[in-house]
């Protein structure tokens, strides 16, 4: 199985450990992982700011980098969703369509494609699971609290396989953290308040770590935790699943 690893730009630049964990985890689970080295960004920062018309260059580059693999896997729900919903390229629309069908967020890839039923990972801590809205309501990697429907959670299902890990309950299981791309600076007051309230929910339930399938949310929550001099840390779900595997 030839898998292309899609590492979002901010993960590449600021959180290489999460990308390394993703790569190692996929390899240990038997995938032939390729990292197309000319990749940059999915184009979402422009598109969500109203500049989707400027993403042509990013789209072209993405198609060139990621065509021809069995799957494209990404440790970010948000970037995956953007590709799934918005990747189009003039003259290469067939390839773009192919990629839109083959792109997976890491936890949904592990659960739905690799059908991971056991892991020898261990992480003996109390962990709060933050659902990113794009992973949750866009990709539906877990059930959404608004709907009258059976609950499930792909990241939680995987975290349950980790030795010693205790998932803590939350008062608001899927309230948004307030990152929102450029929202985090344009609407700084509301963004920060939303983040502070999410952090408080995790802390009040005894979380030692906050994890998520999206580092953009975690980057925002980490910024708040560090400003508060909190002992609570953020960690990408791949780093937990890859821990002492």
């Amino acid at each position: 199985m030839r898998v292309a690893l899609f590492v979002p730009c901010y993960v590449d630049q600021f959180y290489p450990k999460a990308a390394i964990a993703t790569l190692e985890l996929l390899e240990k689970l038997g995938c032939e992982v390729h990292y197309p080295k000319n990749q940059t960004c999915c184009g979402q920062p422009m598109a969500n700011s109203g500049y989707e018309h400027l993403t042509g260059g990013c789209n072209n580059l993405f198609v060139d980098n990621f065509s021809g693999y069995d799957y494209v896997v990404c440790p970010s729900g948000s970037c995956t969703l953007h590709i799934k919903e918005h990747l189009h390229a003039d003259g290469k629309e067939d390839q773009a369509t192919e990629i839109r069908k083959k792109v997976y967020e890491l936890t949904e890839f592990l659960v739905d494609i690799l059908r991971v039923k056991q892991l020898s990972a261990s992480f003996p801590y109390k962990v709060g699971l933050h659902h990113s809205c794009h992973g949750l309501r866009g990709l539906r990697i877990a059930q959404m609290s608004e709907l009258v429907a059976e609950p499930f959670s792909k990241p939680a299902q995987l975290l349950d396989l980790v030795n010693g890990l205790e998932l803590v309950p939350l008062s608001r299981q899927d309230d948004c953290c307030g990152f929102g791309g450029t929202f985090c600076v344009v609407e700084e007051a509301v963004s920060a308040k939303m983040g502070k309230d999410r952090v408080a929910d995790h802390i009040s339930h005894g979380a030692q770590y906050i994890t998520s399938a999206d580092l953009s949310c975690l980057m925002h929550l980490e910024g708040i935790l560090r400003r508060q001099n909190s002992d609570v840390k953020v960690i990408h779900v791949a780093e937990i699943l890859n821990n002492s595997l």
């Binding site: 630049q13 959180y15 400027l54 307030g178 929102g180």
Partner: protein, 462 residues
């Protein structure tokens, strides 16, 4: 009613956030309403089917709107109701004033109408010397406070009971410092009873207008719409063109959804059907367009007209909960308001589609399944293309697009201290950067993943 303002959502929201305990209280109050909605929805196993059915019925209405409007007009007229058509807010206000003037009426009681907020009817009538009293308790409170409603279903949700006590003490003569909700409600009731008994004209909104029968339905908890309408000699009902449903039986879908979504109640205390005037009285319906047919013509935004004004999207919206209804500076606040308002004035409301993280909770609670968050995204594209985006932002976005489209520029930026993110504000550590105001910067690692990977491959190969 709306306060004249040039401030946009980020500024108004920042002002609201200066009082953090108040933000907490506002957030928790609305979350409590959202939680009640969840409990009510989960009691119906067929909830999602109901939403889908309501959505389909409304799609049918929007696809055949002119037919249903004419059918409704014909049937209402047959029932003895007088139907008026208003192209915009001004026409609506003039029609209402004309009706009052004809009868020499200078005082009117009003209930359950966000449309008249949208049309600024109260201000218009005040200028014409007409005294309007809002009879819904929440509406009355904000009217006395000289403020617009902050929420379409819970108009004074931003006011604490102590503040309401002060307003009542000043205007209605309740005891100073009295904040017991029961006593305050009774004070309002006594005050309004006199109003109901002496007003010759009553204006109400319309929740549903039934094309098949020519009747209209108003949903209230306080019963004040009925009291006003039944005691007055002229009842004026204002409705937007989108309020139609084809048949009476469809109420069985919408009445089950409306209040469960709004407040978590199974149904409003009163669902009042008005089909013909009592003897010696008149019923007038003013059917208002005010930009709706333009929205109907915008394919991507058309289905925002499915809205039945339950307010569920506001209660669930974390941005609304933490910024308050007034920060949206428009009659209908929150996510739904942010996709409706740009249609009326794209420049004035260019900020609203950006007052969202696109989290999508609004679309999930919407009882008629409007794709609210997708429309927020689409409005952003339209607003930028129409030139209502700040120039500096456009320049930054262009530079960013250029960098990210080139692996060479991207890697160069990365090597010089993660400079690739110089256009993304969270990478700059200074006081001018809004990220840094309440958050630490992410720590830049020694090497990027790309740099690490290049070495790893090299090591393997050698």
């Amino acid at each position: 009613m709306s306060t004249a303002t040039t401030k946009d959502h980020p500024h108004l929201a920042a002002e609201f956030n200066r009082d953090e305990p108040r933000v907490n209280w506002h957030d928790e109050t609305l979350w409590w309403v959202r939680a009640k909605r969840d409990i009510a929805a989960h009691k119906l196993p067929e909830w999602e089917l109901l939403r889908e059915t309501a959505s389909q019925i409304k799609f049918n209405v929007l696809s055949n709107l002119s037919t249903y409007l004419e059918q409704f007009e014909a049937n209402a007229t047959k029932n003895g109701i007088i139907v008026h058509w208003a192209a915009d807010a001004t026409e609506h206000n003039q029609i209402v004033h004309g009706l009052l003037e004809q009868k020499g009426i200078t005082k009117m009681v009003k209930s359950k109408s966000m449309l008249t907020e949208e049309c600024h009817l109260n201000e218009y009538l005040k200028e014409q010397g007409i005294d309007v009293i809002d009879s819904d308790l929440g509406e009355r409170i904000v009217q006395l406070a000289n403020e617009p409603p902050s929420h379409i279903v819970l108009p004074c949700i931003h006011k604490k009971k102590e503040e309401i006590g002060d307003i009542f003490h000043e205007h209605l003569g309740s005891a100073k410092g009295e904040s017991d909700p029961k006593i305050l409600t009774e004070t309002a009731r006594q005050h309004l009873r006199e109003v109901f008994l002496t007003r010759r004209a009553a204006l109400t909104g319309v929740n549903f207008a039934v094309a098949e029968t020519g009747e209209f339905v108003i949903c209230t908890n306080e019963g004040n719409a009925d009291m006003g309408a039944h005691l007055a000699e002229i009842h004026i009902a204002s409705m937007g063109i989108e309020k139609l449903i084809p048949e009476r039986k469809h109420l069985g879908v919408f009445l089950r959804l409306l209040t469960r979504s709004a407040t978590g109640q199974p149904i409003t205390t009163y669902s009042s059907h008005f089909s013909k005037p009592q003897e010696g009285t008149e019923i007038h319906i003013v059917i208002v367009d005010n930009g709706r047919s333009i929205q109907l013509g915008r394919e991507e935004f058309r289905n925002s007209l499915k809205c039945i004004r339950c307010g569920a999207c506001m209660n669930t919206c974390p941005v609304y909960r933490k910024s308050g209804g007034h920060s949206y500076h428009t009659a209908v606040a929150g996510p739904i308001g942010s996709i409706l308002a740009p249609n009326l004035d794209m420049k004035k409301y260019a900020d609203l589609p950006f007052a969202s993280t696109l989290c999508g909770s609004c679309s999930n609670v919407c009882p008629v399944k409007i794709d609210i968050h997708d429309q927020l995204y689409k409005w952003r594209q339209v607003i930028v293309k129409e030139g209502y985006s700040p120039k500096a932002k456009t320049m930054a976005m262009k530079a960013m697009a250029l960098t990210l489209a080139s692996p060479t520029l991207y890697r160069m930026g990365g090597k010089t201290g993660r400079l690739v993110f110089k256009y993304v504000p969270f990478a700059v550590n200074n006081k001018l950067n809004p990220w840094y105001n309440q958050r630490e910067m992410p720590k830049a690692p020694d090497e990027s993943f790309g740099e690490w990977y290049a070495k790893r491959k090299g090591a393997k190969n050698s």
